[in-house]
């Protein structure tokens, strides 16, 4: 093989290793090639995975004030330690201990997944969520900041950018997108939305839109959040598109929430708001539907 082919193979094997798909033969081949090409940067492939991770990650959530305060305290302790002698950067990443397949750690979930699949096949209602699984999704950035006594003694927080005027944003959006779908929300059965009023506007071309609510009950973010689901006519209706989680801070006043669809919505059929555990869920059991807007 030429050096170029070797490098291509090294890339393949490095990706394979980091995805934990190495066979025993591939592991041996990889070690041999690494010996032959000692300048190959395996960490470059690890960085590639990090880049892909960032590309797939939804909008970031603000640090909880308590955690931020705790980090500030840790920073102060770190700064009290003596400073190490300066060194030139030698690698993009610190060395790490040899890894064991991380996915091995997740193998136990398979059992539960299989059980759930079995229940679905039998037409049974999936069991209620009893423990937060690790794959929670949190996308809403406009999370309220609860009062935190600890913040009183720490340095002033960095100046956050001013909150956008969502009402103005929405107006501008409507002015510049003449073909939006606009539908009213109606109560979905859960007490939190018993008196809900509001609407959804959605532009198919730009894949953007906003929710607007009045009288959707204020939620306690540490206990539950609202999550939007978009039913798409071109997708399996069991798996609506996650439109993001959000909080209602003042139920009696108007709240506007930008929609953050995680996948392209091709044929919107309905927009549903459910009540879920903090962080949201991957799939809702739809036991608590707060509001519903049908397109068709």
């Amino acid at each position: 093989m030429s050096a170029r082919e070797d490098m291509r193979r090294l890339d393949e094997l490095a990706v394979s290793k980091l995805l934990d798909t190495h066979s025993a033969e591939e592991a041996i081949e990889y070690r041999a090639l690494l010996d032959e090409y000692p300048t190959f940067r395996e960490s470059a492939v690890e960085e590639l995975l990090a880049v892909a991770h960032l590309a797939c990650l939804p909008t970031c959530e603000e640090l909880p004030p308590r955690l931020r305060s705790s980090l500030e305290a840790s920073a102060a302790k770190f700064l009290d330690q003596p400073q190490p002698a300066p060194t030139a950067p030698v690698s993009t990443m610190p060395r790490r201990e040899p890894r064991i397949a991380p996915w091995v750690a997740w193998s136990g979930w398979l059992t539960a997944a299989a059980a759930c699949l079995f229940a679905i096949v039998l037409g049974l209602r999936p069991p209620r969520i009893i423990q937060a699984p690790p794959m929670v999704r949190t996308v809403e950035v406009r999370r309220p900041t609860p009062p935190d006594a600890a913040t009183a003694t720490r340095p002033p927080p960095p100046q956050a950018p001013a909150a956008p005027d969502l009402a103005a944003e929405r107006r501008a959006f409507l002015a510049t997108h003449p073909h939006v779908i606009e539908r009213a929300f109606r109560p979905g059965g859960d007490p939190t939305g018993a008196r809900v009023q509001g609407d959804v506007v959605w532009d198919e071309a730009s894949q953007r839109g906003y929710l607007r609510f009045v009288n959707l009950q204020r939620n306690e973010p540490n206990s539950e959040v609202y999550q939007l689901w978009i039913f798409d006519g071109e997708r399996d209706q069991r798996y609506p598109i996650d439109g993001g989680v959000f909080d209602i801070r003042h139920g009696a006043t108007e709240t506007i929430v930008p929609i953050r669809a995680q996948l392209a919505v091709k044929v919107p059929l309905a927009f549903a708001v459910t009540v879920e555990r903090p962080g949201g869920v991957v799939v809702s059991d739809r036991s608590r539907v707060a509001a519903l807007a049908s397109v068709t």
């Binding site: 990650l57 603000e62 920073a75 993009t92 996915w103 069991p127 937060a132 960095p158 995680q262």
Partner: protein, 204 residues
């Protein structure tokens, strides 16, 4: 610099600036260390929330990641990628290690939750933060078939095992592995040749 004087918006490399912070962190610059929390806290927190078993676990992970970051800030080399990518690489390592450790402990301490269902899957979405590498990756990923995007997202962001992805997407296990490997290799190849991405976009 004392606490009263701390204002990351006013220092070079502070929150409002996009200059790299880690070289200053490596020199134990107090403002930079604090600005690092403000700049990367939301990113690390979001990653940790999605790859942790509980809020408390995610909070512990964030603490560990920042300590790692401050200690190893001197390792950051801008020639090998952006600071944001360095932070997320380090965070991924720590989170994967914690998953491994935590799951081993949990497996003997409590039964597995029986709450897994077929996945509603996230995909690439818009970031407020701009990063050329990440923007390119997002463009490349969006060119992949939706199911491949889903598989990559489930694997990288949600920490799903290949078997779990196979269950959720109703694919053979071998297909999951192949799709992940091909998708990431394509990303790597296109990342090395951005002109190919532009050409593909222009052709649309």
């Amino acid at each position: 610099m004392n606490d009263e004087a701390y204002n990351p918006a006013q220092i070079p490399g502070g929150v409002e600036s996009r200059a790299d912070l880690l070289p200053q962190v490596a020199r134990h610059d107090k403002s930079a260390v604090h600005a690092c929390i403000a700049r990367y806290g939301p990113l690390v927190w979001t990653m940790a929330r999605r790859m942790s078993m509980s809020i408390e676990d995610a909070e512990d992970a964030v603490q560990e990641i920042f300590l790692d970051l401050w200690r190893h800030a001197g390792r950051f080399d801008p020639h090998h990628g952006s600071e944001r990518v360095f932070v997320s690489t380090l965070a991924r390592r720590r989170l994967i290690d914690r998953i491994r450790h935590m799951q081993r402990r949990l497996s003997v301490e409590r039964p597995l939750p029986a709450d897994l269902e077929l996945a509603g899957i996230s995909g690439p979405s818009e970031h407020a933060e701009r990063d050329a590498q990440v923007d390119l990756a997002r463009r490349v990923l969006r060119e992949l078939p939706v199911d491949q995007q889903q598989a990559i997202t489930l694997s990288l962001v949600e920490g799903y095992s290949h078997s779990e992805i196979a269950e959720r997407l109703a694919w053979p296990l071998g297909t999951v592995k192949t799709v992940l490997r091909r998708g990431l290799l394509r990303l790597k190849n296109l990342a090395a040749n951005p002109s190919l991405v532009r050409a593909a976009e222009d052709a649309e």
